[in-house]
Point group: C2
Chain length 211, copies 2
């Protein structure tokens, strides 16, 4: 089973690494980081690069595709190379997935038409323009399409996928290995829980400037 | 403020990316990924490389150092280049930190002598040999030394550090931006919570083979 994680300039690192760290250690899987061109691909902070081992056309039939998000998804929703590749590989995937604003990229490729999907809370209102029904849920399964909320939600999505792929015990093993027993020191991880003035301030500066 | 994240062959990606994703977006900070040699550094799965922008000697005075762990910490606990660098930079850091078995590397550098520290649950029993008092807590502050439990605990550590560095509101902002409102689909993230037979099976194969 081949798992392809898409990289592109300005992606959010944890969006890609969360699902990777849960999926890549499954027995019988091969994970490949893929981008328009092989080589280092810079994250949104400008301070970190992950290496794409393959070009898009070298990975024509992954079983699972993971699309990370970023603060400027419009850089990819207008990128024919990425959208064409997503449409092509989607014809043969078992699971087509996204984290954060990655759902907007899948939507722009026309893959979520009429489906329920989630994404980063600040960007959910962009999804209806693509015929997608947004929800604020953390992980959404709709057919073979799996979308996760912002950034850190890719870990929850990855564990849920491991459960579907390899069973509950394997997923629990991965959870225990990555010691995923979260204890956030604050309780501000969603717009429902965070202080209202903080939520309002972030909405006021959205869409976010490049970080 | 400069934040240095150490990379070395075989490190666990999420150990490094969790703290990065919480710390690197703080205003007024510069994050640098550093390794013995600049260039791509391969993770434990063999399937992903992160790029070190600088060599160790190019980063002589970071304010914060983050040491990720890996399944084979002995590759680094016997590496004089890394241990010497850690001892040198530690003389000037504000915070010296680790995730997962990174605490064993800090301990091997002699930096945790007599201190309380945590790390990956499967490896905690290695710490007393270095004069360290292990605890199963998720994040441990002891003076300027901050250690996190396995892999995913670096996110909690990063948020706690942001709180100390920039205040609660900034930490809540980061938490909301990375939508860290965890909903693990299973409750097996610690040896206390996971099924006993699963814990026993992992203990039986520890130390873990290279992934």
């Amino acid at each position: 089973m081949q798992i392809a994680v898409l990289l592109y300039d300005g992606f959010t690192a944890l969006d890609a690494v969360g699902p990777y760290e849960t999926l890549a250690h499954l027995p019988g899987t091969e994970t490949v980081f893929v981008a328009e061109r092989p080589g280092p691909v810079r994250c949104d902070s400008g301070r970190l690069s992950l290496v794409a081992e393959k070009a898009l056309d070298e990975v024509p039939r992954p079983d699972i595709v993971v699309v990370p998000g970023c603060p400027q998804p419009e850089t990819q929703t207008g990128n024919p190379a990425v959208l064409d590749w997503l449409r092509t590989v989607d014809t043969a995937t078992t699971w087509t997935t996204s984290v954060c604003t990655g759902s907007q990229i899948l939507a722009a490729a026309g893959l979520l038409d009429g489906r329920r999907a989630t994404g980063h809370w600040l960007y959910l209102d962009r999804l209806p323009a693509y015929g997608v029904r947004p929800t604020g849920e953390r992980v959404v399964f709709d057919g073979k399409y799996v979308t996760a909320a912002g950034v850190s939600a890719g870990i929850d999505m990855g564990l849920a996928l491991v459960g579907r792929l390899a069973g509950d015990e394997q997923a629990q093993t991965v959870q225990l290995m990555i010691e995923y027993d979260p204890r956030p020191p604050y309780d501000a991880g969603s717009p429902e829980k965070a202080p209202a003035d903080l939520v309002a301030r972030l909405r006021a500066v959205s869409p976010l400037p490049s970080r």
